[in-house]
């Protein structure tokens, strides 16, 4: 009895709902897609444990399948050394203890990992025996004789007892890993969930809808439970589904969802202590819908005012589960039977259970499978005699025992082949030795094996990366008088842009930082209807910056706004009225048809040209408008996120600029031009659009932040304030801002007309250099896209990217963060001149000016969760795209403007689509910090959020010494481990020489042209 049990049931339910926030997907409506750790609710557990727990709870696979890792081994992506080291890293005990003869535990485990722990099912084994040389295979035959002999002695039990034990085990799962629905599905092959979903899904979508449906449930204001009940009372489907008594039950339901739960839960599970587990399981059966419902409950301000309460949902869900399970149970057993009596029912009929259970087992031979399926199907329509069940059960029972022997023999045979045992060795192996071999190989659970493979997989890349950093250490050099300094987002995609820019202009210095450039604000562009937060999703800004037409252009601005509004209004009218209006619909359809057909033809044949033309037409119609920021507030006011202060005061501006420049280590040697380059992604016909945008700006474009930063830093008042604080930015320095479109590799420059004339020459050069770098970057991106030209010239590549970004048929406008793998926090010199294949987040930080580690502490706190969120979301969406990801885009269907379904009747799909992750290498983020281990240990000791991430191994931490080439890897178990290894790297003149003709992920290389 713990304290919680004494609370009133209402509060306990609230606690259970609170707990659901940890296990259900926490994805916001899809317009604001922000990357986060899919298993964020398990983050308090160590990585491997959390993954096992999540697998047990959700049924998902949290690692790549072993077969995939073995393919990597065959292709050289993992090598034997990595696997060996992974065994040590994992901490398997007594690795060098002998198991049998000269074979140590390490040898046996390695062989077992290589051999795999899966055996073919009965049908395949049968086929192998008939069609291949397996029947004559000496090793398999030998072990088969051994293992067939073994269980006979051990299992003298009759099959009835085995079946009853298994049934008791399955019944024990209910309320923990299973619901009644899972148990009934196991028995009958019929899934109650399919019906529950199709009953529930329309009501749920109608209740949560954010703007597709014109007509809402009249009872919607009363909450989901009341709305559902009002509709369900009129629903004729109950009668059609032969559930006539359901309507009566619904009509007599209590008014409060809490009472419904209290009435229904005991009918499902008598044991009160199992209720939270049962509710959790139940919610997880439709994770997408449950998660969205809970999210809306937790964020009432982000909805449309409809009351959303998780208890409503749970009440309906529990009620439907009980009603439909009752019905299925009645059909299954041929008479009314309370759910609680189900265990007894089959305990008394082991023969029927054995047949029904065997149908799901891989060991069941094909012929018996057919008979079992036939009998189960027959039982669905008519009565089947107990004698028939018994007859078949008696036939199945021997197969059950035989299959175990075959499995064990198969595994032993592959193991001994890996170990290189000769037939002579085998002949002399005693029974105990075989058992020892079997026990040792089987000592690792499936999750542990997967984790070891993952460690090996990560280690291989880590070795390459550490070798690269070590090799590059001696090449570190910064241009003494840079021609420009370019500050970009830390985003892994910008690694490519930065590298190309440095190759093209070796006298440019680049910096990377969290992409909101330290300016957490609400933004309202001249065309925006409302404000959007441009900062990490955990921050709630209190300042608003608006964009306005330049002084004197008020009339133009008004005209433009009116024209734009008219255009958008008509566009919306075309799309909405043609589906909604009875009279206007056909007329607008007729009017819109020919332009639509023309647009489709043009967009199909020449997407780039068409998009450009359409953009120009739009601009011509709306009218051009030069804009300025409303940046400066006269005085500070008490502001809240709801009522933000308009503009920033001088002192706030000084603070933001100073903190940011100090964070990236840009405090002296200012170049004439400093470019703040934000980023965003523009693609067409893509519901997951915002998943490609800047994660540090809550899945929005980071351009406005760059523009605001540059405008602040150029103000004389701010410069003066900075000078007072010891940060002297000379008159000869000017800040410019731009936004990089990561999809089409274009750059939009801001406020170029305000740049003083003395900078024009330098600006011209910079514009050309950035443009050239983007084109070179586009050429690099082409290598990973199957529909892109092979070995394109930069110009051609950029043309392709332009077309790709505006192609409505393109399911992969860009590849996003796919293949992100590591983060470097340190000076750019550490990685400048390395080809890192757009896989590394680059965060600028100068350890020399940070004696107490305060700056790196802030960076770790800000960038750590962002990077981990991206890497882990990609990880989970890759390893199990069906459960953690949202499957293929091509059948996606936007629902209620908050998510996507597959087709028109499915769970709400969360996570990343398969098209975004198909080429991703699932690894945890490796964070390399240029700082001493002492300081990092100190930071780790005082920061619980970092302890959670790093000590629980959600990210991997390494330290590169600021002064030497030494690298140490942090292991939560063993502390800092110095890295040693070869640091010889291929060297090429330019990036293009390294990636030309390659389409797979590439190892690091030294780019000679990147460093002057």
């Amino acid at each position: 009895m713990n304290a919680e049990d004494d609370l009133p049931i209402g509060e306990r339910l609230a606690h259970w709902v609170e707990h659901l926030t940890h296990v259900l997907p926490a994805q916001a409506p899809i317009r604001d897609f922000v990357h986060h750790n899919t298993l964020h609710g398990f983050q308090q557990l160590p990585f491997a444990e959390a993954l096992s727990a999540a697998s047990a709870l959700t049924g998902a696979t949290a690692w790549w399948p072993e077969a995939k890792f073995r393919e990597c081994l065959a292709s050289g992506r993992i090598c034997a050394d990595d696997l060996n080291a992974a065994l040590d890293d994992f901490g398997v005990a007594d690795l060098d203890a002998p198991v049998i003869r000269a074979l140590s535990r390490r040898d046996v485990l390695l062989a077992s990992l290589l051999a795999g722990n899966d055996a073919p099912d009965a049908s395949r084994l049968d086929w192998l025996r008939r069609e291949t040389a397996l029947a004559d295979d000496f090793i398999f035959g030998h072990f088969f004789r051994l293992t067939v002999a073994m269980p006979a002695a051990a299992d003298a039990q009759p099959w009835q007892a085995l079946a009853q034990a298994r049934w008791a085990e399955l019944c024990g799962r209910v309320g923990k890993a299973w619901t009644w629905r899972s148990l009934l599905e196991h028995l009958s092959g019929e899934d109650v969930l399919e019906r529950v979903r199709s009953i529930l899904q329309r009501h749920l979508a109608a209740h949560l809808d954010l703007g597709v449906a014109a007509w809402r449930n009249p009872a919607q204001r009363l909450g989901f439970f009341a709305a559902w009940r009002a509709s369900a009372g009129f629903d004729l489907a109950w009668e059609m589904d032969e559930l006539p008594n359901v309507r009566d039950e619904i009509l007599h339901l209590p008014d409060s969802p809490l009472d419904v739960l209290l009435e229904e839960l005991p009918r499902l599970v008598a044991d009160e202590s199992l209720w939270p587990g049962y509710l959790q399981r139940l919610s997880l059966e439709l994770p997408g819908w449950s998660g969205m419902f809970l999210w809306r409950e937790r964020h009432p301000g982000r909805g449309d005012g409809t009351p959303v309460a998780m208890l409503d949902y749970l009440a309906v869900r529990v009620l439907l589960e009980r009603l439909l399970s009752d019905d299925l149970l009645r059909r299954l057993t041929g008479g009314p039977l309370p759910l609680a009596d189900l265990p007894e029912h089959y305990a008394a009929r082991p023969e029927e259970f054995l047949v029904r259970d065997a149908l799901h087992q891989a060991w069941l031979p094909e012929e018996l499978q057919g008979r079992a399926a036939g009998l189960v199907d027959q039982a669905r329509h008519e009565h089947v005699d107990a004698e028939d069940w018994r007859h078949l059960a008696a036939a199945i029972a021997p197969a059950m025992l035989g299959a175990q022997a075959a499995n064990a023999a198969w595994q032993l045979a592959s193991l001994s082949r890996q170990l290189g045992l000769t037939p002579v060795d085998l002949e002399t192996l005693s029974g105990e030795e075989v058992a020892a071999l079997q026990a040792c190989a089987g000592s690792l659970r499936a999750e542990q094996r997967s984790q070891i493979w993952l460690l090996a997989y990560e280690r291989h890349y880590r070795q390459q990366l550490f070798a690269a950093l070590t090799a590059n250490h001696s090449r570190q050099a910064a241009p003494a008088t840079p021609s420009a300094q370019v500050v970009m987002c830390m985003d892994d995609r910008e690694e490519g842009t930065r590298r190309h820019l440095e190759e093209i202009a070796p006298d440019i210095v680049t910096y990377g930082a969290v992409g909101f450039f330290g300016v957490p604000i609400y933004w309202q562009g001249v065309d925006d209807a409302g404000k959007t937060a441009l900062c990490p999703v955990v921050v709630r800004p209190t300042q608003l910056v608006c964009e306005q037409g330049v002084a004197g252009a008020e009339i133009e601005q008004e005209q433009r706004a009116a024209r734009r509004e008219r255009r958008l209004h008509w566009r919306e009218r075309f799309y909405q009225a043609t589906r909604r209006r009875a009279v206007a619909g056909p007329i607008l359809t007729a009017l819109g048809s020919l332009p639509a057909l023309a647009a489709l033809t043009a967009a199909t044949l020449a997407p780039g040209w068409f998009a450009e033309t359409a953009r120009r037409w739009r601009e011509q119609y709306d009218g051009r408008l030069a804009t300025r920021l409303v940046l400066t507030a006269e005085r500070k006011i008490e502001a809240t996120p709801e009522q933000p202060q308009l503009g920033l005061t001088d002192s706030e501006q000084i603070k933001y600029v100073e903190e940011f420049l100090r964070m990236i280590g840009l405090t002296a040697h200012f170049a004439p031009l400093i470019l703040m380059l934000g980023h965003g992604s523009g693609s067409s016909n893509n519901p997951h659009l915002s998943a490609y945008d800047c994660g540090a700006c809550s899945g929005k474009h980071g351009g406005p932040n760059a523009r605001i930063f540059a405008a602040m830093a150029n103000r004389p008042e701010v410069r003066a304030g900075l000078a007072q604080r010891g940060l002297l930015i000379p008159e000869s320095t000017w800040f410019v801002a731009a936004e990089h479109n990561t999809c089409d590799d274009g750059v939009e420059w801001y406020d170029l007309d305000t740049v003083p004339e003395r900078f024009h020459a330098a600006l011209d050069t910079l514009l050309a250099q950035v443009g050239e770098a983007c084109r070179a970057h586009a050429a690099e991106r082409c290598r990973r896209l199957a529909s892109a030209p092979v070995r394109p010239t930069p110009w051609k590549a950029r043309q392709h990217m332009l077309g790709r970004a505006s192609d409505i048929s393109q399911a992969r406008p860009e590849l996003g963060h796919a293949n992100n793998a590591a983060a470097f926090i340190g000076r750019r010199e550490m990685s400048r001149g390395l080809f890192l294949d757009r896989r590394v987040f680059l965060i600028s930080y100068d350890p020399t000016g940070d004696d107490d580690g305060a700056i790196v502490e802030d960076i770790l706190l800000a960038a750590g969760p962002v990077g981990a969120g991206i890497a882990l979301e990609y990880y989970f969406s890759t390893v199990d795209n069906e459960r953690f990801g949202c499957g293929s885009k091509i059948t996606h269907n936007i629902t209620g403007l908050f998510g996507v379904m597959e087709g028109a009747d499915s769970d709400l799909r969360t996570g990343l689509p398969w098209q975004m992750v198909e080429i991703h290498e699932p690894m945890r983020l490796l964070v390399v910090v240029e700082q001493t281990t002492e300081r990092l240990t100190a930071i780790l000791n005082r920061q619980p959020p970092l302890q959670e991430l790093i000590n629980n191994e959600w990210i991997v931490l390494a330290a590169k010494s600021p002064s030497t080439a030494a690298i140490q890897l942090y292991c939560p178990r063993r502390g800092w481990l110095p890295w040693t290894g070869s640091s010889v790297l291929p060297q090429v003149a330019h990036s293009a020489d390294w990636f030309a003709g390659e389409s797979e992920a590439l190892a690091p290389a030294i780019i000679l042209g990147g460093v002057r």
């Binding site: 329309r202 703007g211 014109a214 449309d304 566009r571 056909p586 359809t589 199909t604 519901p687 409505i808």
Partner: protein, 508 residues
């Protein structure tokens, strides 16, 4: 050059055949295992797209000829089969109706195929999808261009099959396969009507040509009505009008481009085309036309109400489509066929665009559409009915799908319990006689064979193996003695001469 151009309409058969060639080649590549990996995709997509473009170019050329000169009209290319009373032909109809719709379909088909090449990149079912899509394109062009009902029916079925294949594209999802089956079975109701009408046409009119059908005034009004009703049922089913509407709302499980071309733009209009084609026949039976108005109007109300409550974009669009298609039926029922044709073409053009950019819905719309009038808004019963789509899918399931499933189950049981036993299965044999366990047999033929072998064996046993003293042996010995005597006699010269002479006599 000129004669070649003038003969261009004779090549109209290429329009449906080109996509079929693409289907055959791509299917062969899949079967032979050469269509795997990224490298095989462009060829599949290009073949399909080239075939579609070939059709489009040919259609445009024929259109141009028709504009300069006159539409070629009904073209009879070859005899297919037939008997004394009726004949089926390969004939095409190239009048303004068919040419317009054929060209529009060719254009939309080509664009959608081009769209799909990028959209389906690296999908497991990439080649399967293009095979299905090209097959559909061939089918729908046969429907639109065929000069007779029988050929159109072939196309009609091709559309049905490809629709089934593409709804079930994600075959690992039970919802997708279930809905594919649902759509397929409900559509067979329409086929029954089509077949009935064709049978009646063969009996009463002696052929299936559209030109012949339009002259149906010779037959009595009662017969005429029956004929038309068959076609009307087919049209209502294909265009998902009441009472068949449920299937189309379940058909959205396939990839977006297939939803666009099948249910948004082209196939859903096939029923309207059929009605337009049969206009001369229709006008003779005003009561059937009234029936069309009623069916259309009811569907319009149904689709409009359901459309108001839809929360996902594809369902919302499909009800919108259904609404406007039902207006076309109303127009045809009222005799405004030109309006219906114009509406059809314009609607197809708009809807294919709207379906294809359905993933952009988040961008193109900003606010919730205005709610319906207050009297409707607060009606809980109507709301529930609209949300549950007037329970049509459940009804159709109970009335069409379940009986079909039961029937097939019965057929299966019959086969399993009777036919299988009668025919027998390998490896299932039982000993025929308890004392001869080696002779095993199953099924009628098996038993028959066992019986025959039993008889033969008995004969053999009695004749030869029974050994000394049997009747057979005595008879054989006696026969042997006669033969020996005959041989001895023949060896003597006089009998030899007699034999030679007898031979000559026979020869001469």
């Amino acid at each position: 050059m000129i004669p070649l151009l003038a003969n261009l309409p004779e090549w109209i058969w290429l329009v449906p055949v080109l996509p079929l060639v693409a289907v055959v080649i791509n299917a062969a590549r899949v079967l032979l295992g050469t269509a795997t990996g990224d490298a095989a995709e462009p060829l599949t997509a290009r073949l399909s797209s080239l075939a579609a473009f070939g059709g489009l170019a040919l259609m445009l050329a024929i259109d141009a000829l028709a504009l300069i000169d006159a539409p070629p009209g009904h073209l009879r290319l070859a005899h297919w089969f037939g008997n004394g009373n009726w004949e089926a032909t390969f004939s095409f109809m190239l009048d303004p109706l068919s040419l317009t719709l054929g060209t529009l379909t060719a254009l939309i088909g080509w664009l959608v195929i081009r769209f799909s090449a990028n959209y389906l990149h690296r999908e497991a079912g990439f080649h399967r999808f293009f095979i299905g899509l090209s097959f559909f394109l061939a089918g729908i062009q046969i429907v639109l261009l065929a000069g007779n009902g029988l050929l159109a029916f072939v196309g009609w079925e091709m559309c049905g099959v490809s629709s089934f294949l593409l709804i079930g594209y994600a075959w690992h999802r039970p919802v997708a396969t279930g809905n594919a089956l649902f759509a397929f079975i409900t559509n067979r109701g329409g086929d029954a009507g089509f077949l009935l009408a064709l049978g009646l046409a063969a009996t009463w009119l002696g052929g299936f040509e559209w030109t012949l059908l339009s002259k149906a005034s010779q037959i009595s009004v009662v017969n005429d009505r029956l004929l038309v009703v068959g076609f009307v049922i087919a049209a209502l089913a294909k265009s998902a009008q009441l009472p068949f509407s449920a299937w189309i709302t379940k058909a959205l499980e396939g990839p977006t481009p297939s939803s666009a071309i099948f249910y948004g733009a082209v196939m859903v209009h096939a029923g309207v085309y059929l009605m337009l084609r049969l206009e001369p026949l229709l006008v003779q039976v005003p009561d059937v036309m009234f029936g069309l108005v009623v069916a259309g109007a009811l569907t319009a109300i149904y689709a409009w109400l359901c459309g108001l409550v839809q929360t996902d974009v594809k369902s919302a669009l499909i009800f919108a489509t259904l609404f406007q298609v039902s207006l076309m039926f109303v127009a045809i029922g009222l005799g405004w066929t030109t309006l219906a044709l114009v509406h059809l073409c314009l609607h197809a053009g708009w809807r294919v665009w709207q379906f294809l950019i359905a993933p952009s819905w988040l961008v193109v719309t900003r606010e919730r559409p205005p709610p319906p009038p207050a009297w409707l808004r607060n009606n809980q019963l109507l709301y529930t009915a609209a949300l549950q789509r007037f329970w049509l899918d459940k009804l159709a399931d109970t009335l069409f799908v379940q009986p079909t499933a039961s029937f097939s189950r019965d057929a299966h049981a019959f086969e399993e319990h009777f036919i299988d036993h009668a025919i027998g299965q390998p490896g299932q044999g039982k000993a025929v006689h308890a004392d001869r366990p080696l002779v095993v047999a199953d099924g009628l033929p098996g038993r028959l064979l066992a019986w025959a072998s039993d008889v033969l064996q008995r004969i053999e046993y009695r004749l030869l193996l029974r050994g000394k003293g049997g009747t057979a042996e005595k008879l054989m010995h006696r026969a042997g003695a006669y033969l020996r005597t005959l041989e001895n006699l023949l060896e003597q010269p006089r009998y030899l001469m007699m034999a030679v002479m007898a031979t000559f006599v026979v020869i001469l």
